[in-house]
């Protein structure tokens, strides 16, 4: 198979040259700028996701379109050259923030839930933007063709200076998150507690939404307003599968975002007819899929493996306990071959009989099972999440004082049972 077939018709050399910034300074700057955008999206998005504000930023990005159109009209009326980027982006900020405030006002002052408010604002603002853009197209003003690139994004049209500005602003947004890391963590986890300590929760929320606005607006050109929200949501959602630690999650989200931007911009530089935003988002989606399936902490494959291990663990412990009971005269259990092999491999079983180690393991398993059962009876609502109760060692799963309490109660119960049903030998005497 030729290299070109592998890369879908793109010469491999060309791909490598773009990927490693060898395809001319302009392309290199655009690719680096988009990578920085992805990095900023991942870091800011981590906290948006944890603060449950991810969809609000979708309303924000769709609400930028009428602002872009109005800014273009103002520019044309003032006789500015057709497509003045700073003016258009200023318009985007104004109408985006207006959309955001509308969502907040609707959610606060009416009985509409936030998701219905988001849906209403998103579609109405976007519809208004489309109408305005169609109107502008009929005017046949210079530069109006560039407006549509804001909807789906295009890296090819980006000038060098614009790419550098995007890169710098994105780096600034990521740096702001790094600076406010502790504050955003407190805000996202427990805003009430943060407020009691005197943190200005409303202003921190505003700062977070401001950073989201920044990422959205600088992402309009490359990714487009329909898909820019993906840069804020997909990298952190993918990162969450890999870790339970916030700092690591933020780094991973930044890395996944940057990688998506880098690879996506490279591909779209080679496929100029494809909308860049869609390509970048598909690359990010590919990383999400990988994480969802294969991440060891929370991925699908890992969960399936844990399920298998749980069933094997139950079977093994039950077999040990029944083998021990068989030594006391109970009927000997019939064990499936894999189970026998597994027990033999652990040194618990030799020649169909329990070894010393096997006996000790059986006693431990029996105690563990009894105490877990006692815990389940006494505290049915308190089962720890993400623990294999009945299998995991109870001494490691619960605090020592609670385990001692369970042991005490278990001993009491068994004494009581023993008194109710005295041994036959004692009856005879």
């Amino acid at each position: 198979m030729s290299a070109e077939a592998l890369t879908g018709g793109i010469p491999l050399e060309e791909l490598l040259r773009v990927l490693f910034f060898q395809a001319g300074f302009n392309t290199a700057v655009v690719v680096a700028g988009t990578a920085a955008l992805g990095l900023a999206g991942g870091t800011v998005g981590t906290f948006l996701l944890l603060r449950r504000r991810a969809l609000v930023s979708d309303a924000l990005s769709h609400a930028t379109l009428p602002g872009i159109a109005v800014a273009f009209l103002i520019g044309a009326a003032l006789g500015l050259p057709g497509r003045s980027l700073p003016l258009l982006l200023a318009g985007a900020v104004v109408s985006g923030v207006l959309g955001l405030l509308t969502v907040q006002a609707l959610a606060r002052h009416t009985r509409l839930t936030e998701d219905s408010a988001i849906g209403a604002v998103l579609s109405v603002f976007f519809g208004l933007g489309i109408v305005l853009i169609s109107y502008i197209q009929n005017l046949e003003l210079a530069g109006q063709a560039g407006l549509k690139t804001f909807i789906l994004g295009q890296t090819a049209a980006m000038a060098r200076g614009e790419a550098i500005a995007i890169g710098l602003l994105a780096a600034g947004a990521a740096a702001a998150v790094a600076l406010l890391f502790k504050e955003f963590r407190a805000l996202a986890f427990d805003p009430g507690f943060a407020a009691v300590q005197g943190w200005p929760v409303a202003r921190l929320d505003l700062a977070l939404m401001g950073l989201a606005t920044l990422v959205t607006v600088i992402g309009l050109q490359t990714v487009g307003l329909i898909l820019v929200v993906a840069l804020l949501i997909i990298p952190p959602a993918a990162a969450r599968f890999w870790t339970d630690r916030l700092a690591l999650m933020t780094w991973l989200a930044a890395g996944i975002g940057a990688l998506s931007g880098w690879l996506g911009a490279t591909l779209s530089a080679l496929l100029p007819k494809m909308p860049a935003g869609a390509v970048i988002v598909l690359v990010a989606g590919f990383f999400f899929l990988l994480s969802f399936l294969f991440a060891p902490a929370r991925g699908l494959a890992a969960a399936a493996l844990r399920g298998l291990a749980l069933r094997a663990g139950y079977a093994e412990r039950a077999a040990l306990v029944r083998l021990l009971a068989a030594e006391g005269g109970a009927p000997a259990p019939v064990l499936a071959a894999p189970l026998r092999l597994a027990l033999a491999a652990r040194g618990h079983l030799r020649g169909g009989r329990l070894t010393g180690r096997g006996r000790a393991a059986a006693r431990r398993a029996e105690r563990n099972r009894r105490l877990w059962e006692r815990f389940l009876i006494d505290h049915p609502t308190l089962l720890p999440g993400q623990l294999r109760w009945g299998i995991d060692d109870i001494d490691e799963a619960l605090p020592g004082d609670l385990v001692r309490l369970l042991e005490e109660r278990d001993a009491q119960e068994r004494n009581a049972l023993a008194r109710q049903a005295p041994a036959p030998g004692r009856l005879a005497s």
Partner: protein
């Protein structure tokens, strides 16, 4: 569970066996407390409404200089709202709340808070130690990282609730009782002088109940004030010195022995009074 609590109460009479925090009030804050100490908590004319329906109606209450105070009342009586309104977490229609003689907003470093366990997402990617360290954020201030000294303080708070071994656990892997202890440790890490706790005993196991009670008594022995929403009439007398009976407005307040009477409970709980009067323990003077 009963023998457990009874045993503790019997061993206790007044002898606050405090290991930690028993030093006299450390007060390194920029606004020193006046002497004599004003009431830790003075609420005047506090009224709160949700959608025009009053939830709190002209609540007035002055906390005694020290001790453990239970806030008791039926579901929907506004107990949690009272705490949130005191802390400025819900908007007031009217009224003032002072802590140690100053508006409570100026005393944030002297206030500790244990919210209801259900109020946060326990799948959040942080460890128990991270959560407890949040109790130090007010001291750490803007932009700075959590230093080693603050981590030590957080770990010490975890020790006090018997959770030091779980410092590195992601909080979602903890049981309900353990999560409640983490919340309590976070409040301890605040090293406050006035604590608000919203149902810390709700849905916890006996060992956690015991651990929380130990901490409350340590705080009491160290001269702290604890205002605690409590739902279990059976244990009010054993756990608390003072009680505030409320149902939208204040029905009565005072020492448990003289306030937790069938008549006052009937006025607090309205139609449900018979059942609640029957639930009262025979003796309410378990604590002197």
């Amino acid at each position: 569970m009963q023998h457990f609590i009874g045993r503790h109460a019997a061993a206790e009479p007044g002898s606050g066996d405090a290991d930690a925090g028993s030093s006299p009030l450390p007060d390194p804050l920029p606004n020193p407390l006046p002497n004599p100490l004003p009431s830790p908590l003075a609420i005047r004319g506090l009224t709160v409404a949700y959608h025009r329906r009053p939830v709190l109606w002209e609540v007035a209450y002055e906390a005694p200089p020290r001790g453990l105070i239970a806030v008791v009342g039926p579901n929907g009586a506004g107990k949690s709202t009272l705490i949130k309104a005191c802390l400025g977490l819900v908007p007031k229609v009217a009224g003032t709340v002072e802590a140690f003689g100053r508006p409570i907003g100026e005393q944030r470093r002297r206030i500790g808070y244990v919210p209801q366990r259900e109020s946060v997402d326990w799948d959040f990617p942080v460890s128990a130690l991270d959560v407890v360290a949040m109790g130090r954020y007010g001291r750490i201030g803007w932009f700075r990282r959590v230093s080693r000294a603050h981590k030590e303080a957080a770990l010490h708070a975890l020790e006090r609730v018997g959770m030091a071994d779980f410092a590195r656990r992601q909080i979602g892997q903890l049981s309900g009782g353990q999560q409640q202890r983490v919340f309590l440790a976070r409040a301890l890490a605040q090293e406050a002088q006035l604590y608000f706790m919203d149902e810390p005993f709700a849905g916890v196991d006996a060992a956690t109940e015991h651990a929380i009670l130990d901490v409350l008594r340590d705080l009491d022995a160290a001269g702290r004030t604890v205002v605690c929403v409590h739902h279990d009439l059976q244990t009010v007398g054993g756990y608390f010195d003072h009680v505030l009976l409320m149902n939208t407005r204040v029905v009565a307040h005072g020492r448990v022995a003289t306030t937790l009477t069938p008549e006052l409970l009937a006025r607090t709980y309205g139609g449900q009074s018979q059942a609640f009067a029957a639930a009262l323990p025979a003796r309410q003077d378990a604590r002197p």
